[in-house]
Amino acid sequence: MFPGLGLSLLLLLSGCLDPKVDIPEQVTGLAPIYYEGDWRDIGAEPPQPIQELFKIYYKDSILFAGESLRGIHVIDNTDPFNPEPIKFIRIPGNSDIAIKGSTLYANNLSDLVAIDISDLDNIRVVSRVENAFSGLGAPLPDDYFGFFECPDPNMGAIIGWAEKILERPECWR
């Protein structure tokens, strides 16, 4: 139900079993980004401003701009002098896409989804491979060693991690 939680619990345990670390009053570390609602719910929304750009992909004069961990801005670039946002495709926990024909492949947290985008007003998830990925999205970054905010399962699915100033953090590795 909550990908990454098991790992996080393991991390938490292994962290807390290490007696040598002194917990600082305040330190920069990582904190979970929670997704409110059903992270499997994928859909098209009206265009919205780009908040935090992740990556872009280009096909047939359409620019797909990835909003970090939220989804994809679809921008009509038929006239590159006047690019026009036309839709936002909500894909929680997304970090990468590729398109073949009119099928968009994306990670939806740790699942792979194939989305038919031939009609942008009526996009459909046509295929889903559950737990296709381990390292995309939810778990604490593999390369991270340091303090982090302990995950709270009541807060929802973890779709990513962000830097945060932590007060007396109780998790680390």
């Binding site: 935090e52 990556k55 009119s102 491979v129």
Partner: protein, 252 residues
């Protein structure tokens, strides 16, 4: 009064043109698109290849409505990017560039690797050379001795890639290749444009410093530059006169 009506009709006509324009931005039902050098998904023929932190995954996507997982190859920690070329996959990892062959049926086979000091590093390639940026600045995992470099690697023999030349850069990120032109992003320090016809002596043609560049996609004369604060489109059809076409603001 009549003038206003005419104006309204004209506006309506313009509006409907704009509407139909945006609807005409439909997809062709074939082909694949283009990602940047920091991409972790790529499609080759009937197969989708993806990398996550430590693995290379392949999926059969012959049927548009059914993605079938084929293989997960464990590669090791620190896989960052994937770049396809001529039936091969070039993986940028923190320890170096790995080359995999795509087998019939979508599985992959390890061919060779080119190792370097631990740093952050995407890769692009053509038939003869691979271009790898190594970034130590701001790279959390960078190892001792890591530097900010562009390395040109001879891949004419894919079984034993060899470094040809190495150039100092200033915190290089993504890069893009169009023929003999290499676009290289240096974050806050902007975008460098090189003529790489001579790999032993690449030539800096332009250094555009008025924007923050993380990754690029060259599209045959149109360059998409991705930064944290905007997407800039540049016209590079005339290499002596690279022009800004438009900008899309981010986070405003």
């Amino acid at each position: 009064m009549i003038r206003n009506v005419i104006l309204a009709i004209l506006l309506a006509a313009l509006w409907s043109c704009a509407e139909s324009d945006s609807e005409s931005a439909a997809f062709s039902n074939s082909g694949t698109g283009t990602g940047g050098s920091l991409a972790r998904f790529t499609i080759v023929g009937d197969y989708l290849f993806t990398v996550d932190n430590n693995s290379l995954h392949s999926f059969d996507i012959r049927k548009a409505d059914e993605a079938i997982p084929l293989e997960t190859a464990y590669i090791g920690e620190g896989v960052e990017t994937i770049f396809p070329l001529n039936g091969f996959l070039f993986l940028g990892t923190r320890n170096g560039m790995l080359i995999y062959r795509i087998l019939q049926g979508g599985a992959t086979e390890f061919i060779s690797n080119y190792q370097h000091v631990v740093s952050c590093d995407p890769v692009v390639a053509n038939n003869q050379y691979a271009y790898v940026t190594l970034r130590a600045s701001g790279c959390r995992q960078a190892g001792p001795g890591a530097a900010d470099l562009l390395e040109v690697i001879d891949i004419s023999n894919l079984n034993s890639p060899e470094v040809v030349a190495s150039y100092n850069m200033d915190s290089p990120f993504g890069l893009g290749l169009d023929g003999q032109t290499l676009f290289l992003c240096e974050g806050e320090r902007g975008l460098k444009v090189f003529d790489v016809a001579d790999p032993w002596n690449i030539e800096l043609l332009h250094h555009l410093t008025h924007f923050n560049a993380i990754d690029v996609i060259p599209l045959d004369g149109l360059l998409l530059v991705i930064g944290p604060d905007r997407i800039v489109q540049l016209d590079y059809t005339d290499m002596n006169d690279i022009k800004v076409v438009s900008e899309i603001a981010i986070g405003v």
